[in-house]
């Protein structure tokens, strides 16, 4: 009995310690009054100095949202969210909106340094060892605090800025594309986001341009009782290419925090977008107290012929994850890909997957999903592959593998397949395996410690997906997966 208690305590201590980004930055912040009504929406819009058309769009979304019901079909359980008990806007005091690095509060710079996010272009440019070369948009609670490498990107014609800035500086692009992939009416959380979204990243890559570096956004929730509602819009014009990565962390807090983001991608003829996510929001403690509710709508519109969008996600954080990065394959011969690693441990719940909607002739899609469940967690893959009548010759390949660690975790697979054309060709493969004690013993007999052996075996399991990530993130993701599973065996 004593040994059991000890083990439980050991695991519990790991749960607390292993989340390395759980610190809070003590910084003066501006808040909107608590709660949500039309005035909150006006407050946010006014804070951002938005034009009237944006405010109207927000108010319409808010009105619609009030008439909507929170969805309950996902395999996740949580107490009812009190939407009046949240703050909808929190920003570090001082000037809102992005600024040059010299103007950014040193405390914020320190926060990002602690998180390992490179905001100092000069270090990169000066060739400081180990400084990766990619542009970053840093979003702290509700606002973007800085965006790096803007000048160099502008030289190539690429627009990379915060959403607030895009509304001001590029209203024609925002008007044309915002909400064109995920309309406010799409779902409950997307609608809420349309009403109260605060900031996020905007990317436009002009025709024929290959974006000269990786772009990334780093989202940080800091304030207490605050929802984060960011909005990202990426447009790759004809023949353009861009690779984009988002990372996310939050402090450890006892209460749950809501994160309801919307990401829209638009790929025109021959354009390619590669979108990678490393999601490491605070998952809550081992008893399920605290953690982020990650209710996110991500969708790509492959509206151009031969366009291609790849989603790659590594989901290790959040108390609850509810997201289905999807592709609408409108263009002829357009391609959608979804590579996913979802790790749940402790009491985490994940209901995640993708939708591949084939509308265009000869459109193709590929889904590789690797779910790992440990502790008392629950991990569901939910996916839809559909082919419209006109999508003759559409093809999909789906491979969906689940790995169980321990005796109390659950894995579910819920694939939906709809083909309205006889010429569609869909393949679905699925496996569920338990991390085998035989394999563990074999690895340990060769000299590997238990944690090391688990980590090696799990990394083998997810290798196909890791290979899809940009190099430096693949290494980080590999470590993250190992950390998330510490203490899950034995």
């Amino acid at each position: 009995m004593a040994a059991v208690t000890q083990t439980v305590e050991h695991v519990a201590s790991l749960e607390g310690d292993k989340y390395k980004h759980g610190f809070v930055t003590d910084i003066a912040q501006d808040f909107a009054p608590k709660g949500l009504n039309a005035d909150t929406v006006r407050f946010i819009s006014a804070k951002k100095g938005e034009p009237e058309w944006m405010l109207q769009g927000r108010l319409e979304a808010f009105e619609r949202w009030q008439a909507m019901e929170e969805p309950t079909w996902a395999r996740v359980h949580y107490p009812k969210i009190d939407y009046q008990d949240l703050y909808y806007y929190a920003a570090p005091k001082a000037r809102a909106g992005p600024m040059s690095l010299d103007e950014v509060d040193p405390q914020l710079l320190e926060t990002y340094a602690k998180l390992g996010i490179p905001l100092r272009e000069q270090e990169v440019l000066a060739g400081v060892q180990g400084a990766p070369r990619y542009a970053v948009d840093a979003v702290f609670d509700s606002v973007s605090v800085t965006t790096t490498f803007k000048k160099e990107l502008a030289g190539a014609g690429v627009i990379f800025c915060s959403m607030s800035e895009a509304v001001r500086e590029h209203p024609e692009l925002v008007k044309q594309y915002l909400g064109s992939v995920v309309p406010a009416s799409d779902n409950y959380f997307a609608c809420l986001n349309a009403a109260v979204f605060s900031d996020g990243s905007f990317v436009y890559v002009p025709p024929g341009v290959r974006c000269p570096m990786e772009l990334s956004t780093y989202f940080r929730i800091n304030a207490e009782n605050t929802g984060q509602f960011e909005r990202t819009l990426i447009i790759a014009d004809k023949g353009a290419y861009v690779s984009y990565l988002e990372g996310c962390t939050a402090p450890m807090r006892d209460e749950n925090q809501l994160h309801a983001a919307v990401v829209e991608l638009v790929a025109l003829d021959d354009a390619q977008i590669k979108y990678s996510t490393v999601q490491n929001w605070y998952p809550g403690d081992s008893e399920g107290k605290g953690g982020i509710y990650n209710f996110v709508t991500k969708r790509a519109d492959c509206r151009g012929d031969r366009s291609k969008v790849s989603w790659t996600q590594v989901e290790t954080g959040s108390a609850i994850t509810w997201k289905y990065p999807s592709c609408i394959l409108k263009g002829e011969d357009s391609v959608g890909e979804f590579y996913s690693i979802a790790v749940t441990n402790g009491r985490q719940q994940a209901d995640t997957g993708t939708k591949m909607i084939h509308l265009g002739k000869g459109s193709r899609s590929r889904i590789i999903s690797k779910g790992i469940s440990a502790g008392r967690s629950s991990n569901t893959y939910r996916g839809l592959v559909s082919a419209h009548q006109k999508a003759s010759g559409a093809r999909n390949f789906t491979q969906c593998d689940s790995l169980l660690i321990g005796k109390h975790a659950a894995a579910h697979t819920t694939p939906y397949i709809e083909a309205r054309t006889a010429s569609a060709h869909f393949e679905h493969e699925a496996t569920t395996t338990r991390l085998s004690e035989d394999q563990l013993f074999y690895a340990m007999q060769r000299g590997l410690g238990q944690e090391e052996a688990v980590s090696l075996l799990v990394n083998g399991f997810v290798r196909e997906v890791l290979q899809e990530l940009p190099m430096e993130f693949a290494v980080e993701a590999q470590k993250l997966v190992a950390i998330s599973l510490e203490g899950s065996v034995g």
Binding site: Q445, G447, Q450, L456, L457, N459, G460, F461, V462
Partner: protein
């Protein structure tokens, strides 16, 4: 030297090994032969430290150090290597990655530095060459889609690269054709050395034509019931295990 004294091992409520004693001095090769169900695999798993094999009595030491109190990986670092009867597949982990991780883990446990990449590759090339393994095969996930013979060769390759002090071969001949048997045996024979003890566990005498033992022990019903020179294996081949099974019962 491996020294086992009065070993008793149970799986669940069932006692499988019932007072086994055995000494394998450094530099010697001992064969343990016995009928199915005699406890041969239990012996090898117990020495390697597999969970579920409960030692209720007795001891096992390697060069005077107690093995039974150690975790499997700690035993590996002390020089225990078990060549599995059924080697496991490790999906997604290239063979070289696996062996390098294992080698470095062992070195770390012994307070040695990591092996350098060039030194490791040299080691791998040499070992693969001797066992007639195509080097490209080592870039594939360990044992995934390999034939029975290839898997056994991979075991010997790992053994050669990890350079253990105690080698336990559990039914290494099972599933091997004559050519593979010869290659594997040559690999094992190349590892004979004055500071290594080798325990060859087998049902059939065939393997001992290739790996000549110094001593042969007969295991029946969880105990060593007879010991002798290589001629004992030939006698067993001719007469079978029946007499011993009866004697032990």
């Amino acid at each position: 030297m491996l020294s086992i004294e009065n070993l008793h091992v149970s799986i669940g409520d069932k006692e499988i090994i019932k007072g086994l004693s055995l000494q394998v001095p450094a530099g010697e090769v001992h064969a343990v032969m016995g009928p199915n169900g005699a406890g041969k695999s239990t012996l090898s798993y117990t020495l390697a430290g597999r969970a579920g094999y409960e030692v209720t009595e007795g001891m096992a030491t390697l060069d005077g150090e107690d093995l039974l109190a150690l975790e499997p990986n700690e035993r590996a670092a002390k020089g225990v290597f078990l060549s599995f009867q059924y080697p496991l597949e490790i999906p997604g982990v290239p063979t070289l990655t696996f062996i390098r991780a294992a080698l470095n883990a062992q070195r770390k446990a012994r307070g040695e530095g990591e092996v350098s990449a060039p030194a490791f590759l040299k080691l791998a090339r040499e070992a693969a060459g001797k066992l007639k393994i195509d080097f490209d095969m080592l870039k594939r996930p360990l044992n995934v889609g390999f034939s029975g013979g290839e898997k056994k060769r991979m075991e010997i390759l790992q053994m050669a690269m990890l350079s253990p002090r105690l080698l336990i071969l559990d039914e290494t001949d099972s599933g091997l054709d004559i050519d593979a048997l010869r290659i594997v045996s040559e690999g094992v024979n190349a590892m004979r050395s004055p500071d290594r003890s080798m325990l060859v566990i087998t049902h059939y005498q065939r393997l001992l034509d290739y790996i000549k033992p110094d001593r042969v022990h007969v295991l029946a019903s969880g105990r060593i019931v007879a010991s002798g020179g290589p001629e004992l294996a030939l006698e067993l081949e001719a007469k079978g295990y029946d007499q011993y099974a009866k004697a032990a019962a």
